[in-house]
């Protein structure tokens, strides 16, 4: 079947071809011969996830649609939906601000609203597709154990993707019109990060304040919460009912979501090109200004490199939103710390015990991201390499810049912890230093030349580095957690973390001659 050139179907085919090739390149790092390994890895992941799903939800397959069940399902749906909105905002912002093929499209005589309608629909589709690998094993297990009624959950995912995209597009366009194209980029990314994290963090904070625990289930299933929430017959529970196989609820949720998406497309698609061109052309206006004082500050090559890294980190909206996300996830442990500290109870020892690995893990993850930006994401590698500075000197300055930021983020928390429990603070600070140094070392061993704008794809460029970084952070977090209780017992997880590090070093590419 051949689509008429310029029609929506024709554009859809073009977009899907690009999306498919993009995905393929992302998964195989541009090497077709890796495809078989990727397919096997995905298959193994899917099978593994089915076991996880069986263990987690298998026993709930026969759940009746009572209020407690509806609350639990709704909370999961809402959490996933917020994450979808966050991701859809990211995609919409990227579509606005990336020039890519805009010039070609807008210069062509084709009906641009058709291609932008297709693009918005593609965002909705990709949101649903992204949720599927994680949700499908759970739904499959529920279908297998609880019957076909659970198949409606797939429809709910499609509806969630459509509604999330509609809302994300509306939010981004609203920001664009209210605060202008220049500020929208940063604000949208920050809003996306906050939306993505807000629900989990809000529940955790509420749970800590009410029950002194990080568990969000406790607050949702409490009698107080159940009494306050609407009756089981309320429209609020329709998405949950749709997941449970209620045909009417599913039809209603699907219809309303796709009407929302259609409305967003109808309103935004005709003006999408205009917005995008305004966004692309907005660079260089007053908000993108630097220091106004003209005096050069005294410096050395090392300090110049550190200052440059800090300035670039500060001015990177994507990184700001990611760091903000990390900081937001630190709020619950901070509240837990504050609450334990405020109570002044001797029984708060357990809370400190919980804080140690959380902080160490977060430090490792933050350091890994920053190290990639500083070491691999160098936008002017030739300039830095042609400077009269030994290469090891450059690397050292960049590592100092990364560790400086990690210290800045975690020092206040560790200082507060030190007042409450000096021992836990000591263990935490040692753990943070080791986890950050380990993550930075891994990024150093696997360094490659990339643009900072490729940050979101850093996990794809070297999966070994990504897994090594994650397992190293987990290992050092576990080591710190055990060390807080018993130093000698911590040797075992520390050895495991060292094995991860050694393995990563062994498989890392050897440095080139310059």
């Amino acid at each position: 079947m051949t689509a008429v050139p310029g029609s929506a179907v024709w554009f859809a085919r073009h977009e899907s071809r690009l999306a498919w090739r993009d995905w393929l390149a992302m998964m195989t790092a541009g090497r077709r011969e890796r495809l078989r390994r990727v397919v096997i890895a995905i298959a193994v992941f899917v099978i593994f996830m089915h076991f996880v799903a069986y263990w987690v939800v298998g026993r709930y397959a026969d759940a009746a649609p009572d209020k407690a069940t509806l609350v639990a399902i709704s909370a999961s749906v809402l959490l996933s939906w917020l994450l979808m909105i966050s991701q859809a905002m990211e995609s919409t912002t990227r579509a606005f601000y990336s020039r890519s093929d805009l010039d070609l499209i807008l210069a062509s005589p084709a009906a641009v609203e058709k291609i932008f309608a297709v693009r918005i629909a593609t965002v909705a589709l990709s949101m649903a597709m992204m949720a599927l690998p994680l949700a499908a094993p759970f739904i499959d297990v529920l279908v297998a154990r609880g019957g076909w009624r659970w198949i409606g959950a797939y429809g709910l995912i499609a509806a969630m993707g459509a509604a999330a995209t509609a809302l994300a597009v509306a939010l981004t366009v609203a920001l664009f019109r209210v605060i202008g194209p220049k500020r929208t980029r940063l604000v949208a990314q920050v809003v996306a990060a906050v939306i993505g994290a807000a629900f989990v963090i809000g529940l955790q904070v509420a749970a800590i304040l009410s029950y002194g625990t990080l568990s969000r289930v406790s607050v949702l299933q409490s009698q107080t919460a159940l009494a306050l929430l609407p009756d089981a017959g309320s429209l609020v529970w329709w998405p949950a009912r749709a997941a449970l196989g209620d045909g009417m609820a599913l039809t209603g949720v699907l219809a309303s979501s796709f009407v929302l998406l259609a409305a967003a497309i109808a309103v935004v698609a005709p003006r999408f090109g205009e917005y995008a061109m305004t966004a692309v052309g907005s660079a260089g206006s007053s908000i993108g200004r630097g220091r106004q004082d003209s005096a050069f500050r005294p410096t050395s090559p090392r300090l110049a490199l550190r200052r440059k890294e800090w300035t670039l980190l500060r001015r990177d909206p994507w990184l700001v939103s990611q760091t903000l996300m990390q900081m937001l996830y630190l709020i619950p442990p901070a509240v837990l710390l504050w609450r334990s500290f405020d109570d002044g109870q001797s029984g708060s020892h357990g809370a400190y015990q919980l804080l140690v690995p959380v902080l160490v893990m977060a430090a490792g993850q933050l350091a890994g991201g920053l190290a990639w930006l500083a070491i691999s994401g160098e936008d002017a590698p030739d300039l830095v390499a042609s400077a009269p500075v030994p290469p090891r000197f450059i690397v050292r300055a960049k590592i100092e810049a990364v560790l400086g930021v990690v210290a800045l983020v975690f020092a206040p928390l560790v200082a507060t912890l030190a007042v409450a429990s000096p021992w836990h603070a000591l263990v935490t600070s040692v753990g943070i230093v080791i986890a950050a140094a380990a993550a930075t070392s891994i990024q150093l061993w696997f360094r490659s030349q990339a643009k900072r704008s490729q940050f979101r794809r850093r996990q794809v460029s070297s999966r070994v580095a990504t897994f090594a970084e994650a397992f190293s952070s987990i290992g050092w977090a576990a080591t710190a957690a055990v060390a807080a209780a018993n130093v000698w017992l911590a040797i075992a997880p520390a050895l495991l973390a060292l094995v991860v590090m050694t393995g990563a070093w062994c498989v890392s590419p050897r440095p080139r001659n310059v």
Partner: protein
């Protein structure tokens, strides 16, 4: 650096192989205060040569001396005297020109008291003063190229190495860049530049080197190259009985260059 060294750059037996030889036993000497244009067809090894001279790529064999300093044994000392600008200027989008120049000056260890007025002067010369405090993310290719040039000049290098510096520049920007480069040579600096705009090489260069398949196949002033090309084409004409046109005195650099490259291709 020793002041009595007559050559700003001495390259001897330079070899670099990737899948095939990219640079194949290249010898090249550039005098102090000279404007040297390095020409060659695509893939001839020009950029690889320049990247090795700048210290961005390590040669498989050969020696490189910058103002008498062994650039392979003491790269930091050689880099102190050198500046490099590639055809794709890579600058930091999130820094302003002012901040970029402050950073580059810091990297080369230039005192702020010296660097700051020099930065202002360079930005003024290159018409970038109005944008001095705007981030580079909205800059055009020409503005980026001028920024990179300002960065290269902030530490007053003895040897400036430029790879296609005028590609993509409008006429006004190209004239500004050429003016700045000429001034640099008048002030005693040495410039090595690759270009595909042969007219620029013809007008600006004191000497021209032609490189093909990683080897320097001809070198000299435009007149010397014309003579060499003429002599060779005459030989070919004799050999091929009128198949070729010989180089006349008024032959352009383009004619001369094409004749030299064609001759080298035939010989290969």
């Amino acid at each position: 650096m020793t002041a009595d060294v007559p050559f700003a750059l001495e390259v001897c037996g330079l070899i670099k192989r990737f899948d095939r030889p990219a640079v194949d036993g290249l010898d090249l000497n550039v005098r102090r205060g000279e404007f040297y244009a390095l020409l060659g067809p695509n893939g001839a090894g020009k950029t690889t040569t320049l990247r090795m001279i700048t210290g961005l790529l390590r040669p498989d064999a050969g020696t490189i001396r910058v103002a008498g300093i062994d650039a392979l044994a003491d790269p930091v000392a050689a880099k102190r005297l050198t500046a490099w600008i590639s055809d794709e200027p890579m600058i930091y989008d999130k820094l302003t020109p002012h901040e970029y120049l402050e950073f580059v000056a810091g990297l080369w260890g230039v005192e702020p008291a010296l660097a700051e007025p020099r930065a202002c002067e360079l930005l003024h010369w290159l018409d970038l003063t109005p944008q001095a405090h705007e981030r580079c993310e909205g800059f055009s290719k020409g503005m980026r190229q001028k920024m990179a040039l300002a960065g290269a000049l902030i530490h007053e290098p003895r040897l400036i190495i430029l790879d296609e510096p005028l590609t993509g520049l409008d006429a006004g920007s190209a004239r500004q860049v050429k003016g700045v480069l000429r001034q640099r040579v008048r002030d005693g600096g040495t410039i090595i530049m690759t270009t595909h705009i042969l007219e620029v090489a013809e007008r600006m260069a004191d000497r021209i080197g032609v490189i093909a398949r990683g080897k320097l196949i001809a070198e000299g002033t435009l007149e010397e190259l014309r003579r060499k090309a003429g002599k060779n084409t005459d030989k070919n004409t004799d050999k091929n009985a009128g198949k070729n046109t010989s180089m006349t005195d008024g032959a352009s650099l383009e004619d001369t260059f094409l004749a030299l490259v064609a001759e080298q291709a035939e010989a290969a």
